[in-house]
């Protein structure tokens, strides 16, 4: 990703990004040094972590259009509140904004639909029966070697309650350390661990079920 070019793009009022040919050189000077450095700082985070932001939003919303809305809103917020970023992890900072934006979006869009399934599945995941489940599981190698392993895994992930889904996405797809996941989801380290543990047990359970059904 071309950071500097992208900054110049952003610096041009009303410019159509990606069609930079249509502007003449020199318009970029329209901005003060302050604004330029602001845009540059934003662009560094934006360009580097946009895919992570979108992937995260996509797995939260489970929908491409909604993910785009959430990410777009989140990026505008991020730019607006750029001064709240103090150079820690740009990725964690941006993803935390994506998460906040998602929950705001959820409140205004469809509260009920999601909270019901969440409660049900959380209850199912709770309690001692997981310990039994754990030892009763056979090998999942069989599941993972099937031709439709990709579908099975993605279905299982989509089925996870979002609290658990997000920690798996951040851990396995973004390869984030616990500390960063904790910062993004605003939960203690211990909760990151217990959610990952639950999430993985649930996933095994889903895959096991899929295997029995097939």
């Amino acid at each position: 990703m071309a950071l500097v070019r992208a900054v110049d793009d952003v610096c041009v009022p009303g410019a159509k990004p990606g069609r930079q040919e249509h502007r003449s050189a020199g318009q970029g000077e329209a901005l003060s040094t302050d604004e330029r450095s602001r845009v540059r700082r934003f662009e560094e985070i934006f360009a580097t972590h946009l895919d992570a932001a979108y992937n995260y939003a996509h797995w939260l919303t489970r929908d491409a259009r909604n993910a785009e809305d959430v990410v777009q809103e989140a990026c505008l917020r991020a730019f607006k509140f750029l001064d709240s970023f103090h150079g820690e992890s740009g990725r964690a900072w941006l993803l935390a904004i994506v998460r906040n934006t998602y929950y705001t979006w959820l409140k205004t869009n469809r509260v009920e639909a999601l909270s019901v399934s969440f409660d049900e599945e959380t209850m199912a995941a709770d309690g001692g029966e997981l310990a039994d489940l754990e030892s009763s599981f056979g090998s999942i190698d069989q599941v993972l070697q099937q031709g439709d392993a990709k579908r099975l895994i993605n279905d299982a992930l989509a089925r996870l309650p979002e609290e658990f889904r997000e920690v798996i996405v951040l851990r396995e797809m973004e390869d984030l350390p616990y500390k960063e996941i904790a910062a993004i989801a605003k939960i203690p380290l211990g909760t990151v661990m217990s959610r990952l543990s639950r999430a993985r047990k649930l996933l095994l359970q889903y895959l096991q079920q899929a295997k029995q059904e097939s």
Partner: protein, 268 residues
């Protein structure tokens, strides 16, 4: 370490979040406990299954453009609304009629230049373009721009000639605003090539040079700089001269790349 303790640390172990002594303790326990070992193996298989199969949704290009446009528009309106901070409106020049005309001509020229990109390059160059883009990106991302860092063409040229089976023209373009950063040997199109690095403001330009593959042994001709591709924010210009193929790439805009390539080709 017993089973309860080792299982309670299973996830931290899998995620490499444990310190070395704990890892060693768990390893030792696993070596002697088949039940725990099976649980760990299953979790580990799940982890690699997810990493292998989970769908990664990369941001669509249209979204990236929309966000940049919105932020650009925000800054633009802020700049216009705050004359105290930006006393000289950057748009004032547009109100002069001769300049408007000039701008229109420039726009037309740029559109044709862009249109040329879409139609000019033969498909066979596709592979080279991809390689040129990767090499350029790699050099910028790793900050490994030059093996011989010098703004003196008389240092760079012999250095490259000594390492390649040809001698690339290294030109001095400081006067045109393109100072030389240095050179390095890169690998493109299945052969070692010369990479000359220039700068324009903060932008890095890589010029890859290597002997042209002549088809059927026909004598190498000279072709004028032509835009070859414009994608992922990079503009690539290609030309040939004296049996050498030149590929210049940068995140500069198409007009500036055109200027650079023409100046370079004219000077060599």
């Amino acid at each position: 370490m017993d089973c309860t303790e080792s299982r309670s640390r299973l996830h931290a172990y899998l995620d490499q979040e444990l310190d070395l002594p704990s890892v060693v303790a768990i390893d030792q326990h696993l070596a002697s406990c088949a039940a725990c070992k099976a649980i760990f193996a299953r979790q580990s298989a799940l982890q690699s299954g997810i990493r292998k199969h989970a769908e990664y949704h990369a941001a669509p290009a249209a979204l990236v453009e929309r966000i940049r446009a919105q932020i650009g528009a925000q800054i633009g309106s802020a700049a216009r609304q705050a004359p105290a901070r930006a006393p000289r409106s950057p748009w004032r020049w547009l109100q002069h009629r001769p300049l408007q005309l000039g701008a229109a001509f420039a726009a037309v020229a740029l559109v044709s230049w862009t249109a040329a990109i879409e139609y000019s390059h033969p498909r066979g160059d596709e592979l080279i373009i991809e390689q040129v883009m990767s090499s350029h990106a790699r050099s910028v991302v790793t900050s490994h721009l030059a093996d011989v860092a010098s703004s003196d063409q008389h240092t760079v040229k012999p250095w490259l000639s000594g390492r390649l089976d040809f001698s690339p023209p290294v030109v001095d373009l400081v006067g045109a605003g393109f100072p030389l950063v240095g050179g390095r040997v890169d690998y493109v199109d299945h052969r070692p090539v010369a990479a000359l690095v220039y700068r324009h403001r903060e932008h890095v330009i890589n010029v890859f040079v290597w002997p042209e593959r002549s088809i059927g042994g026909t004598a190498a001709g000279r072709t004028a700089p032509t835009p070859s591709a414009s994608r992922r924010g990079y503009n690539i210009v290609h030309w040939t001269d004296g049996g050498l193929a030149f590929w210049a790439i940068s995140d500069l805009n198409a007009a500036e790349m055109k200027t650079f390539a023409e100046t370079y080709a004219g000077a060599s």
